[in-house]
Subunit: 296 residues, 2 copies
């Protein structure tokens, strides 16, 4: 199949609303409404590194977009537009059709529009750049955690890591866990509801310990976390901090966002992360978070 | 080398000006000035497909950004921000250092700022998403060519295709041609100078015949082009149309942009592209433009 046919058949949609020029010109032209700032993130998924080579294309389409939407959620942004760079060993219409279905099911339900892309031949990988909007000055960053703040986690910790461990060990995992690994739900509504409430926010992709470490480093703080030893990674849940006096508002925001949040500890003035188990004993995390490049 | 160290060492720059939050959070936060629209494009370069596996990393850094800047130029946009998704077989500091030098030399001279990215392990490829700004409603598209308009081409046609043909046949090509293939100069100043003058514009990446075909299809027109048989592809020059009465203004815009432009033909009402050689005879193009996926 011809490259332009592939683009036209699966990815070209008419321009409308804020999309002044969409897929099909040299670049897209987009209208950012007054009073808003643009939020931009990009993530690549490579076959054999971020997904199994035999992953279903619909699942891959979902996840490649979901991990980017999760970053927008962590900034408190509402999704607006995205570009897709798709590298494929060969142009198989059935594969691209299924990929596009998984991709657009999530895109349409999240209110994000494909505005451009590039299809190339090569080893299978997907790079998505997602753009969102946030009212001026209201983006949630990693750097605002204050001493005494509660640390919260959305959803359940460790499902995705458990599923991955199961699959690597036994080649199977319960359907619910597999879905949590392969089809994570970006916490878009929660992220937006946390604007003005959360003092810092990040999405958990590399693992809770590592990602909390980013909040602590950016905020110049430490934390004490009460959790029994756990696996984490690829969760795409939000990890955030908020003052104790906002607890009721945070719970209300979570309920309104159809999402569970759990307070798991406190921010401390002294640097360092202390993990405390159910018996009150401090322990070390079992393994560091996911690293694309391991140390020599 | 640790992924976060790699990012910090080569790619993290302090946020300033329109970059409210840059590299180092879940996403970048960017301020689009009032009265401007956002222009977005993305291009992937894959080892063995878009460049030779032994390409110098500095050259690759330059070209990966240049092809995206060329798309911004073709829209009449001024460069603003970009994201970089870099997939590498292994984390070699020397390689990344040279790549970053080639990349930032062009980025700095073009006034575009890196605001985010993703480094992953896998077969070598680079995806850049470039963002630019254009005054509201003034983007140059492919769709506005009018019957009687002159067709112009910037720079020289065919240098890059000649260099590629030389390299594939003999393994060498003159330095000037090699530079035209590996280090194309995006026509940013010309693109912006053509706002309000050009009726349609595209950058030539797939070859003159194919890219002119896009203008003709989008504009619902045909063209007669006076050129002796030529190779084209990977030129990253601008191909554009403008009314005959604007000829002097177009030449002035080109001179002000330090760039040569050549009128090569006319837009016609009837569909179809007619290529006429120096003897006035019509001929067929030697080969179609570059296709990532060839037909079975």
């Amino acid at each position: 199949m011809h490259e332009f046919d592939l683009i036209k058949r699966y990815f070209q949609k008419p321009a409308a609303g804020s999309v002044k020029i969409g897929v099909g010109d040299d670049a897209a032209v987009l209208a950012v409404p007054p009073g808003y700032e643009l939020v931009v993130t990009t993530d690549t998924m490579v076959s054999g590194v971020h997904f199994f080579a035999d992953v279903s294309p619909a699942t891959l389409g979902h996840k490649a977009l979901a991990v980017n939407l999760s970053d927008l959620a962590a900034m408190g942004a509402q999704p607006a537009w995205f570009t897709l760079a798709l590298t494929l060993p060969e142009a198989e219409p059935e594969w691209v059709d299924a990929f596009a279905q998984g991709l657009f099911l999530l895109a349409d339900s999240s209110g994000i529009t494909l505005v451009g892309g590039d299809t190339t031949q090569g080893p299978l990988s997907v790079t998505i750049t997602a753009m969102g909007l946030v009212p001026q000055g209201q983006a949630l960053t990693r750097g605002g955690a204050q001493t005494g703040d509660l640390v919260f986690f959305s959803g359940a910790i460790g499902d995705a890591a458990q599923a991955l461990a199961d699959l690597q060990k036994w080649g199977q995992t319960p359907t619910r866990l597999r879905a949590r690994l392969e089809c994570p739900t970006p916490r878009l509504a929660l992220g937006q509801a946390l604007r003005g409430l959360a003092t810092a926010c990040i999405d958990v992709s590399d693992g809770l310990v590592q990602d909390l470490g980013h909040i602590l480093a950016a905020s110049g703080r430490g934390a004490k976390i009460n959790l029994s030893p756990f696996l984490s990674g690829d969760d795409y849940e939000l990890l955030f901090t908020a003052p104790e006096h906002s607890l009721a508002d945070v719970i209300a925001a979570a309920v309104a966002s159809d999402c569970v949040v759990t307070p798991i500890g406190h921010i401390q003035a002294e640097a360092g992360l202390h993990l405390i188990d159910a018996q009150g004993r401090e322990y070390q995390p079992e393994k560091p978070g996911f690293q694309h490049f391991s140390e020599p």
